[in-house]
Protein backbone atom coordinates (compact mmCIF):
# COMPACT_ATOMS: atom_id res chain seq x y z
CA UNK A 1 0.00 0.00 0.00
CA UNK A 2 1.49 3.33 -1.02
CA UNK A 3 1.68 6.49 1.03
CA UNK A 4 -1.09 7.90 -1.06
CA UNK A 5 -3.88 5.72 0.22
CA UNK A 6 -2.72 6.25 3.81
CA UNK A 7 -2.93 9.98 3.47
CA UNK A 8 -6.26 9.63 1.69
CA UNK A 9 -7.82 7.77 4.57
CA UNK A 10 -6.35 10.17 7.10
CA UNK A 11 -7.74 13.10 5.17
CA UNK A 12 -11.04 11.26 5.03
CA UNK A 13 -11.09 10.92 8.81
CA UNK A 14 -10.37 14.64 9.28
CA UNK A 15 -13.03 15.62 6.79
CA UNK A 16 -15.62 13.46 8.47
CA UNK A 17 -15.06 15.23 11.78
CA UNK A 18 -15.23 18.66 10.22
CA UNK A 19 -17.94 18.24 7.66
CA UNK A 20 -20.19 15.78 9.47
CA UNK A 21 -22.63 13.29 8.07
CA UNK A 22 -22.40 14.01 4.32
CA UNK A 23 -18.86 12.72 4.26
CA UNK A 24 -19.61 9.78 6.50
CA UNK A 25 -22.28 8.78 4.02
CA UNK A 26 -19.79 9.13 1.17
CA UNK A 27 -17.30 6.91 3.00
CA UNK A 28 -19.92 4.31 3.70
CA UNK A 29 -20.81 4.28 0.04
CA UNK A 30 -17.11 3.80 -0.74
CA UNK A 31 -16.94 0.77 1.52
CA UNK A 32 -20.06 -0.72 0.00
CA UNK A 33 -18.84 -0.22 -3.59
CA UNK A 34 -15.38 -1.60 -2.81
CA UNK A 35 -16.79 -4.64 -1.04
CA UNK A 36 -19.26 -5.29 -3.87
CA UNK A 37 -16.43 -5.35 -6.38
CA UNK A 38 -14.58 -7.87 -4.21
CA UNK A 39 -17.68 -10.00 -3.56
CA UNK A 40 -17.51 -12.42 -6.53
CA UNK A 41 -13.85 -13.23 -5.85
CA UNK A 42 -14.60 -13.73 -2.15
CA UNK A 43 -17.52 -15.99 -2.95
CA UNK A 44 -15.45 -18.20 -5.28
CA UNK A 45 -12.46 -18.38 -2.96
CA UNK A 46 -14.39 -19.15 0.21
CA UNK A 47 -16.71 -21.75 -1.32
CA UNK A 48 -14.26 -23.62 -3.57
CA UNK A 49 -10.99 -23.23 -1.65
CA UNK A 50 -11.34 -22.16 1.98
CA UNK A 51 -14.45 -24.19 2.79
CA UNK A 52 -12.78 -27.39 1.49
CA UNK A 53 -9.69 -26.67 3.61
CA UNK A 54 -11.86 -26.32 6.73
CA UNK A 55 -13.77 -29.50 5.86
CA UNK A 56 -10.50 -31.37 5.27
CA UNK A 57 -9.27 -30.42 8.74
CA UNK A 58 -12.59 -31.60 10.20
CA UNK A 59 -12.46 -34.93 8.26
CA UNK A 60 -9.01 -35.61 9.65
CA UNK A 61 -10.51 -35.82 13.16
CA UNK A 62 -13.33 -38.16 12.18
CA UNK A 63 -13.66 -41.80 11.23
CA UNK A 64 -14.89 -43.08 7.90
CA UNK A 65 -17.48 -45.82 7.85
CA UNK A 66 -18.75 -47.48 4.75
CA UNK A 67 -22.33 -46.33 3.88
CA UNK A 68 -22.26 -43.76 6.69
CA UNK A 69 -19.42 -41.63 5.44
CA UNK A 70 -17.32 -39.22 7.39
CA UNK A 71 -18.50 -37.53 10.52
CA UNK A 72 -18.04 -39.66 13.61
CA UNK A 73 -15.55 -37.93 15.93
CA UNK A 74 -12.36 -39.95 16.25
CA UNK A 75 -10.04 -37.52 17.96
CA UNK A 76 -6.41 -37.93 17.03
CA UNK A 77 -6.82 -41.54 15.86
CA UNK A 78 -5.90 -40.72 12.23
CA UNK A 79 -2.78 -38.89 13.32
CA UNK A 80 -1.78 -41.79 15.57
CA UNK A 81 -2.15 -44.09 12.59
CA UNK A 82 0.36 -41.91 10.72
CA UNK A 83 3.02 -42.76 13.29
CA UNK A 84 2.55 -46.51 12.90
CA UNK A 85 1.94 -46.66 9.14
CA UNK A 86 5.08 -48.03 7.41
CA UNK A 87 4.10 -46.41 4.10
CA UNK A 88 3.87 -43.03 5.78
CA UNK A 89 7.38 -43.31 7.16
CA UNK A 90 8.83 -44.35 3.79
CA UNK A 91 6.91 -41.60 1.97
CA UNK A 92 8.00 -39.00 4.53
CA UNK A 93 11.65 -39.99 4.08
CA UNK A 94 11.36 -39.71 0.31
CA UNK A 95 9.63 -36.34 0.62
CA UNK A 96 12.53 -35.31 2.86
CA UNK A 97 14.93 -36.27 0.07
CA UNK A 98 12.86 -34.17 -2.35
CA UNK A 99 13.05 -31.18 0.00
CA UNK A 100 16.82 -31.39 0.47
CA UNK A 101 17.40 -31.93 -3.26
CA UNK A 102 15.23 -28.97 -4.20
CA UNK A 103 16.89 -26.84 -1.55
CA UNK A 104 20.25 -27.39 -3.24
CA UNK A 105 20.01 -28.48 -6.90
CA UNK A 106 17.71 -25.94 -8.61
CA UNK A 107 19.13 -23.03 -6.63
CA UNK A 108 22.80 -23.89 -7.22
CA UNK A 109 22.19 -24.70 -10.87
CA UNK A 110 20.08 -21.59 -11.47
CA UNK A 111 22.68 -19.44 -9.75
CA UNK A 112 25.49 -20.90 -11.87
CA UNK A 113 23.47 -20.40 -15.06
CA UNK A 114 22.47 -16.88 -14.11
CA UNK A 115 26.09 -15.90 -13.43
CA UNK A 116 27.26 -17.49 -16.70
CA UNK A 117 24.49 -15.90 -18.74
CA UNK A 118 24.48 -12.48 -17.08
CA UNK A 119 25.46 -10.01 -19.78
CA UNK A 120 26.47 -12.75 -22.26
CA UNK A 121 25.74 -12.10 -25.93
CA UNK A 122 23.35 -14.97 -26.54
CA UNK A 123 21.71 -14.78 -23.11
CA UNK A 124 18.23 -14.13 -24.52
CA UNK A 125 18.27 -17.31 -26.59
CA UNK A 126 19.77 -19.31 -23.73
CA UNK A 127 17.15 -17.95 -21.34
CA UNK A 128 14.39 -19.15 -23.65
CA UNK A 129 16.02 -22.58 -24.05
CA UNK A 130 16.33 -23.14 -20.30
CA UNK A 131 12.82 -21.82 -19.74
CA UNK A 132 11.16 -23.89 -22.46
CA UNK A 133 10.85 -27.15 -20.45
CA UNK A 134 8.76 -25.28 -17.93
CA UNK A 135 6.04 -24.63 -20.46
CA UNK A 136 5.67 -28.35 -21.16
CA UNK A 137 2.95 -30.04 -19.17
CA UNK A 138 4.50 -31.97 -16.25
CA UNK A 139 2.61 -34.96 -17.60
CA UNK A 140 4.34 -34.69 -20.98
CA UNK A 141 7.75 -34.09 -19.40
CA UNK A 142 7.23 -37.18 -17.26
CA UNK A 143 6.45 -39.30 -20.32
CA UNK A 144 9.59 -38.10 -22.17
CA UNK A 145 11.82 -38.88 -19.20
CA UNK A 146 10.09 -42.22 -18.71
CA UNK A 147 11.61 -43.24 -22.06
CA UNK A 148 14.93 -41.58 -21.30
CA UNK A 149 15.22 -43.89 -18.29
CA UNK A 150 13.69 -47.00 -19.90
CA UNK A 151 15.91 -50.12 -19.91
CA UNK A 152 16.52 -49.66 -23.66
CA UNK A 153 16.37 -45.86 -23.35
CA UNK A 154 18.64 -42.91 -24.00
CA UNK A 155 20.47 -42.88 -20.67
CA UNK A 156 21.51 -46.53 -20.82
CA UNK A 157 22.50 -46.06 -24.46
CA UNK A 158 24.74 -43.15 -23.47
CA UNK A 159 26.30 -45.03 -20.53
CA UNK A 160 26.95 -48.05 -22.77
CA UNK A 161 29.37 -45.93 -24.78
CA UNK A 162 31.70 -45.84 -21.78
CA UNK A 163 31.17 -48.91 -19.59
CA UNK A 164 29.78 -51.55 -21.91
CA UNK A 165 26.14 -52.65 -22.19
CA UNK A 166 23.85 -51.24 -19.48
CA UNK A 167 20.19 -52.22 -19.19
CA UNK A 168 19.29 -50.76 -15.86
CA UNK A 169 15.64 -49.95 -15.15
CA UNK A 170 16.16 -46.61 -13.44
CA UNK A 171 12.46 -46.26 -12.67
CA UNK A 172 12.08 -49.79 -11.37
CA UNK A 173 14.54 -49.83 -8.49
CA UNK A 174 14.01 -48.42 -5.01
CA UNK A 175 17.47 -46.89 -4.91
CA UNK A 176 17.34 -45.01 -8.23
CA UNK A 177 13.73 -44.03 -8.81
CA UNK A 178 13.57 -40.95 -6.56
CA UNK A 179 16.88 -39.41 -7.75
CA UNK A 180 15.86 -40.15 -11.36
CA UNK A 181 12.53 -38.34 -11.00
CA UNK A 182 14.23 -35.43 -9.19
CA UNK A 183 16.61 -34.97 -12.14
CA UNK A 184 13.65 -34.75 -14.53
CA UNK A 185 11.93 -32.33 -12.15
CA UNK A 186 14.99 -30.07 -11.95
CA UNK A 187 15.34 -30.19 -15.74
CA UNK A 188 11.81 -28.90 -16.05
CA UNK A 189 11.71 -26.32 -13.26
CA UNK A 190 15.14 -24.63 -13.23
CA UNK A 191 14.04 -21.96 -15.72
CA UNK A 192 12.06 -19.83 -13.29
CA UNK A 193 14.73 -19.55 -10.54
CA UNK A 194 17.25 -18.76 -13.28
CA UNK A 195 15.17 -15.94 -14.72
CA UNK A 196 14.44 -14.55 -11.24
CA UNK A 197 18.16 -14.60 -10.37
CA UNK A 198 19.06 -12.92 -13.67
CA UNK A 199 16.61 -10.13 -12.83
CA UNK A 200 18.17 -9.91 -9.36
CA UNK A 201 21.68 -9.74 -10.85
CA UNK A 202 20.70 -7.03 -13.30
CA UNK A 203 19.35 -4.94 -10.43
CA UNK A 204 22.64 -5.01 -8.51
CA UNK A 205 24.40 -1.61 -8.71
CA UNK A 206 27.67 -1.65 -10.69
CA UNK A 207 29.52 0.72 -8.34
CA UNK A 208 30.49 -1.63 -5.48
CA UNK A 209 31.56 -4.27 -8.00
CA UNK A 210 33.76 -1.83 -9.95
CA UNK A 211 35.19 -0.47 -6.72
CA UNK A 212 36.18 -3.96 -5.63
CA UNK A 213 37.71 -4.66 -9.05
CA UNK A 214 39.80 -1.50 -8.90
CA UNK A 215 40.97 -2.57 -5.45
CA UNK A 216 42.26 -5.74 -7.11
CA UNK A 217 39.67 -8.29 -6.02
CA UNK A 218 39.57 -11.49 -8.09
CA UNK A 219 36.28 -12.36 -9.84
CA UNK A 220 35.74 -15.06 -7.22
CA UNK A 221 36.17 -12.60 -4.37
CA UNK A 222 33.88 -10.08 -6.04
CA UNK A 223 31.21 -12.73 -6.43
CA UNK A 224 31.51 -14.06 -2.88
CA UNK A 225 31.80 -10.76 -1.01
CA UNK A 226 29.87 -8.28 -3.16
CA UNK A 227 27.46 -9.96 -5.56
CA UNK A 228 26.23 -12.80 -3.36
CA UNK A 229 25.23 -10.70 -0.33
CA UNK A 230 23.40 -8.22 -2.56
CA UNK A 231 21.60 -11.11 -4.25
CA UNK A 232 20.48 -12.63 -0.95
CA UNK A 233 16.84 -11.43 -1.05
CA UNK A 234 16.33 -12.98 -4.50
CA UNK A 235 18.08 -16.18 -3.43
CA UNK A 236 15.72 -16.44 -0.48
CA UNK A 237 12.65 -16.14 -2.73
CA UNK A 238 14.09 -18.73 -5.11
CA UNK A 239 14.90 -21.17 -2.28
CA UNK A 240 11.37 -20.98 -0.90
CA UNK A 241 9.76 -21.41 -4.33
CA UNK A 242 11.86 -24.51 -5.07
CA UNK A 243 11.45 -26.06 -1.65
CA UNK A 244 7.67 -25.72 -1.76
CA UNK A 245 7.58 -27.04 -5.34
CA UNK A 246 9.69 -30.06 -4.40
CA UNK A 247 7.68 -30.69 -1.25
CA UNK A 248 4.38 -30.79 -3.14
CA UNK A 249 5.63 -32.51 -6.33
CA UNK A 250 3.02 -34.95 -7.63
CA UNK A 251 2.54 -35.06 -11.42
CA UNK A 252 6.11 -36.10 -12.26
CA UNK A 253 6.10 -38.90 -9.71
CA UNK A 254 2.63 -40.02 -10.74
CA UNK A 255 3.57 -40.33 -14.41
CA UNK A 256 7.13 -41.61 -14.10
CA UNK A 257 6.41 -44.17 -11.38
CA UNK A 258 3.42 -45.61 -13.22
CA UNK A 259 4.93 -49.09 -13.45
CA UNK A 260 6.63 -49.01 -10.05
CA UNK A 261 4.81 -51.19 -7.53
CA UNK A 262 5.83 -49.13 -4.50
CA UNK A 263 4.56 -45.89 -6.00
CA UNK A 264 2.65 -44.84 -2.88
CA UNK A 265 5.85 -44.83 -0.84
CA UNK A 266 7.52 -42.28 -3.13
CA UNK A 267 6.08 -39.12 -1.58
CA UNK A 268 3.47 -37.87 0.87
CA UNK A 269 1.43 -36.36 -1.97
CA UNK A 270 1.21 -39.68 -3.82
CA UNK A 271 0.46 -41.55 -0.57
CA UNK A 272 -2.36 -39.09 0.18
CA UNK A 273 -3.85 -39.62 -3.29
CA UNK A 274 -3.52 -43.39 -2.98
CA UNK A 275 -5.10 -43.59 0.50
CA UNK A 276 -8.05 -41.44 -0.64
CA UNK A 277 -8.86 -42.52 -4.16
CA UNK A 278 -7.58 -46.10 -4.29
CA UNK A 279 -7.87 -47.25 -0.68
CA UNK A 280 -10.92 -45.10 0.23
CA UNK A 281 -9.30 -44.34 3.61
CA UNK A 282 -10.71 -40.80 3.39
CA UNK A 283 -10.16 -39.71 6.99
CA UNK A 284 -6.60 -41.02 7.05
CA UNK A 285 -5.83 -39.33 3.73
CA UNK A 286 -7.28 -36.06 5.12
CA UNK A 287 -4.83 -36.29 8.01
CA UNK A 288 -1.93 -36.63 5.55
CA UNK A 289 -3.20 -33.56 3.68
CA UNK A 290 -3.35 -31.61 6.95
CA UNK A 291 0.26 -32.55 7.71
CA UNK A 292 1.27 -31.35 4.22
CA UNK A 293 -0.64 -28.11 4.71
CA UNK A 294 0.85 -27.51 8.15
CA UNK A 295 4.40 -27.85 6.84
CA UNK A 296 3.70 -25.56 3.87
CA UNK A 297 2.28 -22.91 6.22
CA UNK A 298 5.31 -23.21 8.50
CA UNK A 299 7.71 -22.74 5.56
CA UNK A 300 5.72 -19.74 4.31
CA UNK A 301 5.85 -18.21 7.79
CA UNK A 302 9.61 -18.88 7.98
CA UNK A 303 10.06 -17.10 4.67
CA UNK A 304 8.25 -14.00 5.95
CA UNK A 305 10.47 -13.91 9.05
CA UNK A 306 13.71 -14.42 7.08
CA UNK A 307 12.71 -11.89 4.44
CA UNK A 308 12.24 -9.25 7.10
CA UNK A 309 15.61 -10.08 8.65
CA UNK A 310 17.44 -9.95 5.30
CA UNK A 311 15.80 -6.63 4.43
CA UNK A 312 16.88 -5.19 7.77
CA UNK A 313 20.41 -6.56 7.35
CA UNK A 314 20.83 -4.89 3.96
CA UNK A 315 19.70 -1.50 5.21
Amino acid sequence: MGDRSMSDSELGALDAERLGSADVRQRRRNALTGALFAAPALLFVTSFLLYPVAMNVWYSFTAWRKFEGLGEWAGLANYQRLATNPNFEAAAINTGIWVIASLVLPVALALALAVLLNGARFSDTAKTLFFLPRVLAPTAAGVIWYYVYAPNGVLNGFLSLFVGPVDRGWLFEDSTITPAIIVAFVWQTVGLPMVLLLIGLAAIPRDPIEAAQIDGATPGQVFLHVTLPLLLPTILVVVIISVLAGFTAFDHIWVMAQSFPGKRRLSLTVLMYYEAFTNNAWAFASAIAVVLGGIVLAVTWLQAVLQERVDRMLK
Binding site: A41, V45, F122, V135, V143, G153
Partner: protein, 299 residues
Protein backbone atom coordinates in the same frame (compact mmCIF):
# COMPACT_ATOMS: atom_id res chain seq x y z
CA UNK B 1 28.87 8.27 -12.41
CA UNK B 2 29.49 9.89 -9.06
CA UNK B 3 31.71 7.42 -7.29
CA UNK B 4 33.71 8.48 -4.24
CA UNK B 5 37.39 7.81 -4.88
CA UNK B 6 39.42 6.49 -1.96
CA UNK B 7 41.82 9.21 -0.83
CA UNK B 8 44.96 7.08 -0.80
CA UNK B 9 44.49 5.88 -4.36
CA UNK B 10 47.38 6.83 -6.66
CA UNK B 11 45.75 6.88 -10.08
CA UNK B 12 49.05 6.79 -11.95
CA UNK B 13 50.05 3.53 -10.29
CA UNK B 14 47.09 1.60 -11.65
CA UNK B 15 47.68 -0.78 -14.52
CA UNK B 16 44.60 0.26 -16.50
CA UNK B 17 45.04 -2.47 -19.06
CA UNK B 18 44.89 -5.06 -16.30
CA UNK B 19 41.74 -3.46 -14.87
CA UNK B 20 40.10 -3.43 -18.29
CA UNK B 21 40.98 -7.08 -18.80
CA UNK B 22 39.52 -8.04 -15.44
CA UNK B 23 36.39 -6.15 -16.21
CA UNK B 24 36.01 -7.75 -19.65
CA UNK B 25 36.47 -11.16 -18.11
CA UNK B 26 33.80 -10.44 -15.54
CA UNK B 27 31.29 -9.04 -17.99
CA UNK B 28 31.55 -11.84 -20.54
CA UNK B 29 31.91 -14.50 -17.86
CA UNK B 30 35.13 -15.59 -19.53
CA UNK B 31 35.28 -17.76 -22.64
CA UNK B 32 35.28 -21.08 -20.78
CA UNK B 33 32.16 -19.91 -18.95
CA UNK B 34 30.48 -19.16 -22.23
CA UNK B 35 31.29 -22.61 -23.60
CA UNK B 36 30.04 -24.20 -20.41
CA UNK B 37 26.74 -22.37 -20.80
CA UNK B 38 26.47 -23.47 -24.44
CA UNK B 39 27.21 -27.08 -23.46
CA UNK B 40 24.54 -26.98 -20.74
CA UNK B 41 21.99 -25.44 -23.09
CA UNK B 42 22.64 -28.26 -25.58
CA UNK B 43 22.33 -30.87 -22.83
CA UNK B 44 19.05 -29.24 -21.79
CA UNK B 45 17.71 -29.72 -25.31
CA UNK B 46 18.41 -33.48 -25.47
CA UNK B 47 14.94 -34.51 -24.16
CA UNK B 48 13.30 -32.19 -26.72
CA UNK B 49 15.48 -33.60 -29.49
CA UNK B 50 14.55 -37.11 -28.37
CA UNK B 51 10.86 -36.22 -28.46
CA UNK B 52 11.06 -34.57 -31.87
CA UNK B 53 12.93 -37.39 -33.63
CA UNK B 54 10.86 -40.15 -32.04
CA UNK B 55 7.52 -38.90 -33.31
CA UNK B 56 8.89 -39.32 -36.88
CA UNK B 57 9.86 -42.96 -36.33
CA UNK B 58 7.73 -46.02 -36.97
CA UNK B 59 7.31 -48.34 -33.96
CA UNK B 60 9.59 -50.93 -35.60
CA UNK B 61 12.29 -48.38 -36.39
CA UNK B 62 12.18 -47.10 -32.79
CA UNK B 63 12.37 -50.57 -31.28
CA UNK B 64 15.41 -51.73 -33.25
CA UNK B 65 17.44 -48.61 -34.13
CA UNK B 66 19.64 -46.39 -31.97
CA UNK B 67 17.42 -44.11 -29.89
CA UNK B 68 19.09 -40.80 -30.73
CA UNK B 69 19.57 -41.44 -34.45
CA UNK B 70 17.72 -39.22 -36.91
CA UNK B 71 14.57 -40.81 -38.36
CA UNK B 72 14.83 -42.59 -41.72
CA UNK B 73 11.82 -40.80 -43.13
CA UNK B 74 9.09 -38.39 -42.12
CA UNK B 75 5.96 -40.34 -43.03
CA UNK B 76 5.61 -42.51 -39.90
CA UNK B 77 4.45 -39.37 -38.06
CA UNK B 78 1.06 -39.69 -39.78
CA UNK B 79 0.53 -43.16 -38.37
CA UNK B 80 1.70 -42.06 -34.92
CA UNK B 81 -0.62 -39.06 -34.86
CA UNK B 82 -3.66 -41.00 -35.96
CA UNK B 83 -2.97 -43.83 -33.49
CA UNK B 84 -2.42 -41.35 -30.64
CA UNK B 85 -5.48 -39.34 -31.65
CA UNK B 86 -7.73 -42.40 -31.54
CA UNK B 87 -6.32 -44.10 -28.46
CA UNK B 88 -6.51 -41.00 -26.25
CA UNK B 89 -9.70 -39.62 -27.90
CA UNK B 90 -7.81 -36.43 -28.40
CA UNK B 91 -10.54 -34.58 -30.35
CA UNK B 92 -12.99 -34.15 -27.46
CA UNK B 93 -10.12 -33.94 -24.98
CA UNK B 94 -8.61 -30.93 -26.78
CA UNK B 95 -12.00 -29.27 -27.01
CA UNK B 96 -12.59 -29.78 -23.27
CA UNK B 97 -9.14 -28.47 -22.35
CA UNK B 98 -9.74 -25.39 -24.50
CA UNK B 99 -13.15 -24.76 -22.91
CA UNK B 100 -11.89 -25.18 -19.35
CA UNK B 101 -8.67 -23.22 -19.81
CA UNK B 102 -10.15 -20.28 -21.76
CA UNK B 103 -13.32 -19.92 -19.68
CA UNK B 104 -11.68 -20.61 -16.33
CA UNK B 105 -8.67 -18.35 -16.83
CA UNK B 106 -10.61 -15.51 -18.49
CA UNK B 107 -13.37 -15.32 -15.91
CA UNK B 108 -10.85 -15.67 -13.09
CA UNK B 109 -8.75 -12.76 -14.35
CA UNK B 110 -11.81 -10.50 -14.81
CA UNK B 111 -13.23 -11.39 -11.38
CA UNK B 112 -9.76 -10.86 -9.89
CA UNK B 113 -9.47 -7.46 -11.58
CA UNK B 114 -12.82 -6.44 -10.08
CA UNK B 115 -11.66 -7.52 -6.63
CA UNK B 116 -8.31 -5.76 -7.06
CA UNK B 117 -10.13 -2.58 -8.11
CA UNK B 118 -12.42 -2.77 -5.08
CA UNK B 119 -9.57 -3.46 -2.67
CA UNK B 120 -6.98 -1.06 -4.08
CA UNK B 121 -8.99 1.94 -5.16
CA UNK B 122 -11.54 2.37 -2.38
CA UNK B 123 -10.55 3.22 1.17
CA UNK B 124 -12.56 1.41 3.77
CA UNK B 125 -12.04 -0.42 6.99
CA UNK B 126 -11.74 -4.19 6.61
CA UNK B 127 -10.32 -4.17 3.10
CA UNK B 128 -7.06 -5.71 4.33
CA UNK B 129 -9.05 -8.51 5.96
CA UNK B 130 -10.94 -9.11 2.71
CA UNK B 131 -7.67 -9.18 0.79
CA UNK B 132 -6.08 -11.63 3.24
CA UNK B 133 -9.11 -13.92 2.85
CA UNK B 134 -8.61 -14.06 -0.92
CA UNK B 135 -4.82 -14.28 -0.57
CA UNK B 136 -5.25 -17.34 1.69
CA UNK B 137 -6.19 -19.19 -1.50
CA UNK B 138 -2.55 -19.15 -2.61
CA UNK B 139 -0.89 -20.68 0.44
CA UNK B 140 -2.41 -24.14 0.85
CA UNK B 141 -1.09 -27.17 -1.03
CA UNK B 142 -3.58 -28.51 -3.58
CA UNK B 143 -3.95 -31.75 -1.63
CA UNK B 144 -6.01 -29.97 1.02
CA UNK B 145 -8.81 -29.19 -1.46
CA UNK B 146 -9.07 -32.59 -3.05
CA UNK B 147 -11.16 -34.79 -0.76
CA UNK B 148 -13.81 -32.27 0.40
CA UNK B 149 -14.18 -31.01 -3.18
CA UNK B 150 -14.73 -34.55 -4.39
CA UNK B 151 -17.44 -35.17 -1.75
CA UNK B 152 -19.15 -31.79 -2.19
CA UNK B 153 -19.15 -32.18 -5.95
CA UNK B 154 -20.77 -35.60 -5.58
CA UNK B 155 -23.54 -34.35 -3.34
CA UNK B 156 -24.16 -31.23 -5.45
CA UNK B 157 -24.19 -33.15 -8.72
CA UNK B 158 -21.23 -31.14 -10.01
CA UNK B 159 -18.94 -34.13 -10.34
CA UNK B 160 -18.17 -35.01 -13.96
CA UNK B 161 -19.83 -31.87 -15.38
CA UNK B 162 -18.37 -29.05 -17.47
CA UNK B 163 -19.92 -26.49 -15.13
CA UNK B 164 -18.20 -28.06 -12.12
CA UNK B 165 -14.82 -28.00 -13.85
CA UNK B 166 -15.19 -24.38 -14.97
CA UNK B 167 -16.30 -23.24 -11.51
CA UNK B 168 -13.36 -24.89 -9.80
CA UNK B 169 -10.77 -23.68 -12.30
CA UNK B 170 -12.16 -20.15 -12.03
CA UNK B 171 -11.87 -20.28 -8.24
CA UNK B 172 -8.32 -21.62 -8.14
CA UNK B 173 -7.13 -19.07 -10.71
CA UNK B 174 -8.49 -16.04 -8.79
CA UNK B 175 -6.23 -15.45 -5.72
CA UNK B 176 -2.88 -15.03 -7.45
CA UNK B 177 -4.08 -12.44 -10.03
CA UNK B 178 -5.75 -10.50 -7.20
CA UNK B 179 -2.38 -10.23 -5.50
CA UNK B 180 -0.63 -8.96 -8.65
CA UNK B 181 -3.42 -6.68 -9.89
CA UNK B 182 -3.98 -5.10 -6.48
CA UNK B 183 -0.34 -3.97 -6.45
CA UNK B 184 -0.64 -2.74 -10.02
CA UNK B 185 -3.89 -0.87 -9.51
CA UNK B 186 -2.84 0.82 -6.28
CA UNK B 187 -0.12 2.51 -8.35
CA UNK B 188 -2.53 3.73 -11.03
CA UNK B 189 -3.56 7.36 -10.66
CA UNK B 190 -6.90 7.97 -9.00
CA UNK B 191 -7.38 11.35 -10.62
CA UNK B 192 -8.99 9.92 -13.71
CA UNK B 193 -11.49 8.09 -11.49
CA UNK B 194 -12.44 11.32 -9.78
CA UNK B 195 -12.71 13.14 -13.10
CA UNK B 196 -14.98 10.44 -14.48
CA UNK B 197 -17.15 10.49 -11.35
CA UNK B 198 -17.48 14.26 -11.62
CA UNK B 199 -18.79 13.75 -15.13
CA UNK B 200 -21.42 11.43 -13.72
CA UNK B 201 -19.83 8.14 -14.75
CA UNK B 202 -21.27 5.16 -12.85
CA UNK B 203 -19.00 2.84 -10.87
CA UNK B 204 -19.42 -0.10 -13.24
CA UNK B 205 -18.77 1.92 -16.36
CA UNK B 206 -15.79 3.50 -14.62
CA UNK B 207 -14.35 0.04 -13.97
CA UNK B 208 -15.03 -1.47 -17.37
CA UNK B 209 -14.16 1.46 -19.59
CA UNK B 210 -11.41 3.22 -17.64
CA UNK B 211 -9.70 0.93 -15.09
CA UNK B 212 -9.84 -2.31 -17.07
CA UNK B 213 -8.23 -0.99 -20.29
CA UNK B 214 -5.43 0.54 -18.23
CA UNK B 215 -4.64 -2.81 -16.60
CA UNK B 216 -4.85 -4.86 -19.78
CA UNK B 217 -1.17 -5.79 -20.11
CA UNK B 218 -0.72 -7.43 -16.68
CA UNK B 219 -4.15 -9.03 -17.17
CA UNK B 220 -3.03 -10.61 -20.45
CA UNK B 221 0.15 -11.96 -18.83
CA UNK B 222 -1.91 -13.38 -15.94
CA UNK B 223 -4.40 -14.91 -18.36
CA UNK B 224 -1.59 -16.73 -20.19
CA UNK B 225 -0.18 -17.98 -16.91
CA UNK B 226 -3.51 -19.28 -15.63
CA UNK B 227 -4.45 -20.71 -19.03
CA UNK B 228 -1.26 -22.79 -18.93
CA UNK B 229 -1.98 -23.89 -15.37
CA UNK B 230 -5.45 -25.16 -16.24
CA UNK B 231 -4.26 -26.76 -19.48
CA UNK B 232 -1.50 -28.65 -17.63
CA UNK B 233 -3.58 -29.66 -14.61
CA UNK B 234 -3.68 -33.40 -14.05
CA UNK B 235 -4.72 -33.77 -10.40
CA UNK B 236 -8.12 -32.07 -10.31
CA UNK B 237 -9.08 -33.16 -13.80
CA UNK B 238 -8.46 -36.78 -12.76
CA UNK B 239 -10.47 -36.48 -9.56
CA UNK B 240 -13.40 -34.35 -10.75
CA UNK B 241 -14.14 -35.96 -14.14
CA UNK B 242 -14.81 -39.56 -15.01
CA UNK B 243 -16.37 -39.84 -18.45
CA UNK B 244 -14.10 -39.64 -21.51
CA UNK B 245 -16.44 -37.09 -23.14
CA UNK B 246 -15.73 -34.52 -20.41
CA UNK B 247 -12.07 -35.21 -19.74
CA UNK B 248 -9.47 -32.63 -20.69
CA UNK B 249 -6.25 -33.65 -22.41
CA UNK B 250 -3.93 -34.38 -19.47
CA UNK B 251 -6.00 -37.13 -17.83
CA UNK B 252 -6.84 -38.37 -21.34
CA UNK B 253 -3.13 -39.15 -21.78
CA UNK B 254 -3.39 -41.51 -18.83
CA UNK B 255 -5.08 -44.15 -21.00
CA UNK B 256 -1.53 -45.15 -21.85
CA UNK B 257 -0.74 -45.76 -18.18
CA UNK B 258 -0.17 -49.37 -17.33
CA UNK B 259 -1.10 -50.38 -20.88
CA UNK B 260 2.35 -49.50 -22.07
CA UNK B 261 2.87 -52.87 -23.64
CA UNK B 262 -0.10 -52.32 -25.93
CA UNK B 263 1.07 -49.05 -27.51
CA UNK B 264 4.39 -48.17 -29.05
CA UNK B 265 6.49 -45.49 -27.32
CA UNK B 266 6.36 -43.58 -30.60
CA UNK B 267 2.57 -43.26 -30.27
CA UNK B 268 2.70 -42.33 -26.58
CA UNK B 269 5.38 -39.70 -27.13
CA UNK B 270 3.41 -38.32 -30.08
CA UNK B 271 0.37 -37.96 -27.81
CA UNK B 272 2.46 -36.06 -25.23
CA UNK B 273 3.87 -33.87 -27.97
CA UNK B 274 0.43 -32.98 -29.31
CA UNK B 275 -0.91 -32.29 -25.81
CA UNK B 276 1.90 -29.82 -25.05
CA UNK B 277 1.88 -28.13 -28.46
CA UNK B 278 -0.73 -25.42 -27.70
CA UNK B 279 0.97 -24.08 -24.55
CA UNK B 280 4.47 -24.31 -26.03
CA UNK B 281 3.41 -22.40 -29.18
CA UNK B 282 1.60 -19.85 -27.04
CA UNK B 283 4.77 -19.39 -24.99
CA UNK B 284 7.02 -19.00 -28.02
CA UNK B 285 4.63 -16.53 -29.66
CA UNK B 286 4.15 -14.40 -26.55
CA UNK B 287 7.44 -15.03 -24.78
CA UNK B 288 7.89 -11.54 -23.46
CA UNK B 289 4.39 -11.16 -22.05
CA UNK B 290 4.68 -14.58 -20.51
CA UNK B 291 7.99 -13.91 -18.80
CA UNK B 292 6.88 -10.55 -17.41
CA UNK B 293 3.77 -12.14 -16.00
CA UNK B 294 5.65 -14.98 -14.39
CA UNK B 295 8.51 -12.99 -12.95
CA UNK B 296 6.89 -9.70 -11.99
CA UNK B 297 4.36 -11.87 -10.30
CA UNK B 298 6.56 -14.09 -8.16
CA UNK B 299 8.83 -11.34 -6.99
Amino acid sequence: MNRVQPQHLDLSAIDWREVARRKRRLVSGGSWGMWLAVAMALLWMVPFYYLLITIFKSPAEFATGPKLALPEGLWPVVGNVSAAWQAARMGPAFLNSAIYAVTGAASAVIIAAMAAHGLARFDFRGRTALFMTIFAGTVFPLQLYLIPLFFSYQSLGLIDTRLGMILFYTAICIPFPVLVLRNYMSQMSREMDEAARMDGCGEFRLFFSIVLPNASSPMLALFLLQFTWVWNDLLFATVLTQSPELRPIMPALQVFQGGYASQSPTVILTASFLASLPTVLLFLAMRRTFMTGLTAARN
